[in-house]
């Protein structure tokens, strides 16, 4: 593996760390919450297994994605997925409405929740890291390594940081939108056309800027709508 350290490397690394904090932190929060109502001993096991599965799934997805990203059209699909992940990241929890599925507090139901969440969130995380690493395997591997302690130990820390400074999430959404725009115009199918006819999309950062703005506008307006609905009828939880 040829490791070169340059400015682009550090910019990408910073992006990846930020993405990991947001997307792996989320995953850790789900694991902690899913195990909340378990008896003490089972809780420990639930968290260990949940974190282990999340890490294993990330490695698995990462191995596949390195091969996949050079196939035509897949960067376009990845970019669209990334837009979806970015907007989703910016939305707050909707709050309880309608009936809730009763959680029995059993180990089995906790595991089910964790496995589903791990699969979805690991895929989100790997797509985002792969896009931010611009096909450099060493960055992808670093991104995975950084996400591991965050999944295992990060839940309380990440939660406090994100709740206290929500702007971290907003800027994180913009970052993902930026990367999604970048990835879109480097798909093998589009790259030739972009170079000939619309080089400014790439060279002048028009595509990433548009991607970031798109996510910001959509994410913020959807989030605002959710918050406004919640505030119409304040519902104390205690």
């Amino acid at each position: 593996m040829d490791i070169t350290l340059d400015q682009q490397f550090f910019v990408s690394l910073l992006q990846i760390i930020w993405i990991d904090i947001l997307l792996s932190g989320d995953n850790a929060v789900v694991i902690a919450l899913a195990c909340r109502n378990l008896p003490h001993r089972q809780r420990k096991w639930g968290i260990i297994c949940g974190a282990g599965a999340a890490i294993a799934l990330r490695v698995l997805f990462a191995v596949f994605i390195v091969y996949l990203l050079n196939i035509p059209y897949l960067k376009i699909i990845g970019s669209l997925l990334l837009f979806w992940i970015a907007v989703k990241l910016m939305l707050p929890e909707e709050g309880a409405h309608g009936e809730s599925v009763q959680s029995g507090g059993s180990l089995w139901s906790a595991i089910r929740t964790i496995v589903i969440a791990d699969a979805v969130m690991s895929l989100d995380n790997v797509i985002a890291i792969a896009a931010a690493s611009h096909g450099r395997v060493e960055l992808l591997v670093l991104g995975l390594l950084i996400s591991i302690p965050l999944i295992v130990y990060g839940s309380a820390l990440v939660l406090k940081a994100l709740q206290r400074f929500p702007v971290l999430i907003t800027l994180g959404g913009a970052l993902l939108g930026w990367i999604a725009g970048e990835v879109l115009v480097t798909d093998p199918v589009l790259v030739g056309w972009v170079e000939r006819e619309a080089h400014y999309l790439h060279d002048w950062y028009i595509a990433p800027i548009a991607g970031a703005l798109f996510v910001l506008v959509l994410g913020l307006s959807l989030a605002r709508a959710i918050e406004a609905r919640r505030r119409q009828k304040l519902d104390p939880v205690s």
Partner: protein
């Protein structure tokens, strides 16, 4: 008079409770104190996977922890009070609560981030000042 004291559980935020207990309460026997803790919502990506009853529990417990200090102060001062936890964007929810529960004033502490950090990270106190329809007292 009904006064709203938002607290976040930090020692700093208790300054507002102390101020009310020592300055407002002695002169007003009808003083109704509402202590509010606003729990920021979880990111939806995480929340969609978790049962809503568990989420309520979680927010309730975190809220109770954040309210404990204020409750103790008020109980020690033998002052009648109500306390509750609500989930939402912090500043917006504080202003909405004051309006919906007919509070005559809001008394809150500042986080003390300073101008630059406050601008960058979002000062809750500044936002409440902008949004509130009732007088706001900031305690430093």
């Amino acid at each position: 008079m009904r006064v709203l004291i938002p607290v976040d559980g930090s020692d700093r935020s208790l300054a507002a409770v102390r101020y009310v207990a020592s300055t407002l309460a002695p002169g007003d026997t009808d003083l109704e104190i509402h202590v509010l803790n606003v729990q920021p919502p979880l990111p939806s990506a995480a929340a969609t996977f978790i049962d809503s009853a568990v989420l309520r529990d979680f927010h309730g417990d975190e809220g109770a922890k954040a309210l404990a200090g204020a409750r103790k102060l008020l109980e020690d001062a033998k002052l009648r009070h109500e306390s509750s936890t609500v989930v939402g964007e912090v500043a917006e929810t504080i202003a909405a609560y004051a309006e919906q529960r007919d509070c005559a004033a809001i008394v809150m502490a500042t986080r003390g981030l300073g101008n630059a950090a406050g601008l960058l990270l979002g000062s809750v106190a500044h936002k409440v000042l902008q949004l509130s329809k009732v007088p706001v007292t900031l305690v430093k």
